[in-house]
């Protein structure tokens, strides 16, 4: 993972390392940290494709305001990955277009 190994001011306390899946591929991240941070640390920059022009989109504002980072998480689309916490076994997928909201179970 592309983590900062040492820093002149800060000490990083990451939580528990967990396994999650991005487009079916197994990756590692830290539980409780934003999904976007885990993706970025694994070199994943493209999170979704826009409906009309299929333009790639990724991280932008990091405070849940801009909608650039929407992905399908555990089957649910339009998840703000910059403010949603990573959990063990989470399935994160590139969102293509508007995504399909799953029916209530």
């Amino acid at each position: 993972m592309d983590l900062i190994k040492e820093h002149p001011i800060l000490e990083f306390e990451h939580g528990k390392k967990v396994k999650f899946f991005f487009d079916g591929k197994a990756m590692e991240g830290f539980e409780g940290e934003p999904i976007a941070a885990a993706l970025h640390a694994n070199g994943v920059r493209i999170y979704r494709e826009t409906p009309e022009m299929k333009r790639p989109r990724g991280f932008f504002c990091a405070i849940g305001k801009c909608s650039s980072c929407f992905m399908v998480v555990d089957g649910v689309p339009n998840v703000r990955t910059c403010v949603t916490a990573l959990t063990e076994g989470m399935r994160v997928e590139t969102q293509r277009g508007k995504g399909l909201v799953p029916p209530l179970s």
């Binding site: 040492e6 820093h7 002149p8």
Partner: protein, 168 residues
């Protein structure tokens, strides 16, 4: 116009209020050095004064004033060097070493931390390496991760050198 643009991008182009040299005679004889503060803009800030143990950095009537220094009280202790949020204070000891040497005490917040006895690159205001310097001491006055590196430099460059870079 050119000089204005340079200053406007953070390069000090000459002395001005808030960025003045110490009086030369005192400076040349002061053991342990005197502080140079380069803070020419009026901003609301005064930790240089509140951190100074001798009162050399004078009280601010208006917190937006540029700093004023009573050099007779300055002991070159570097408390302000390590406290200044803008890293704008430097101590220069002209009495150090040989006739062509001086000791500079500079704030440092990068990695790696230079080793005592090692040689570092001395950078000017543009970040250009203008000489080598020998690291004499590394202190951390406030124990808050801001180091003060004491580095021996050529005396002729004390008004140019403003940073160091550790060579790997």
């Amino acid at each position: 116009m050119e000089m204005d643009m340079l200053f406007n991008s953070g390069i000090l182009t000459g002395e001005r209020p808030g960025a003045e040299k110490p009086p030369q005679e005192l400076w040349e004889t002061k053991q342990n050095g005197l502080v140079i503060i380069e803070c020419p803009q009026r901003i609301p800030c005064n930790p240089c004064h509140t951190s100074c143990p001798t009162g050399a950095v004078l009280p601010f009537e208006d917190i937006n004033d540029t700093p004023r220094i009573d050099y007779t009280k300055c002991t070159g202790c570097t408390m302000c060097v390590a406290k200044c949020p803008g890293l704008a204070c430097f101590v220069v000891d002209l009495t150090y070493g040989g006739a062509d040497e001086a000791l500079m005490k500079l704030p440092y917040e990068m990695l790696p931390v230079p080793e005592v006895g090692s040689e570092v690159e001395c950078l000017n205001r543009y970040g250009e390496a203008v000489s080598k310097g020998k690291v004499i001491r590394v202190m951390e006055p406030w124990k808050d991760k801001t180091k003060v590196v004491h580095v021996a430099v050529p005396k002729s460059l004390v008004m140019d050198i403003r940073a160091i870079r550790v060579v790997k």
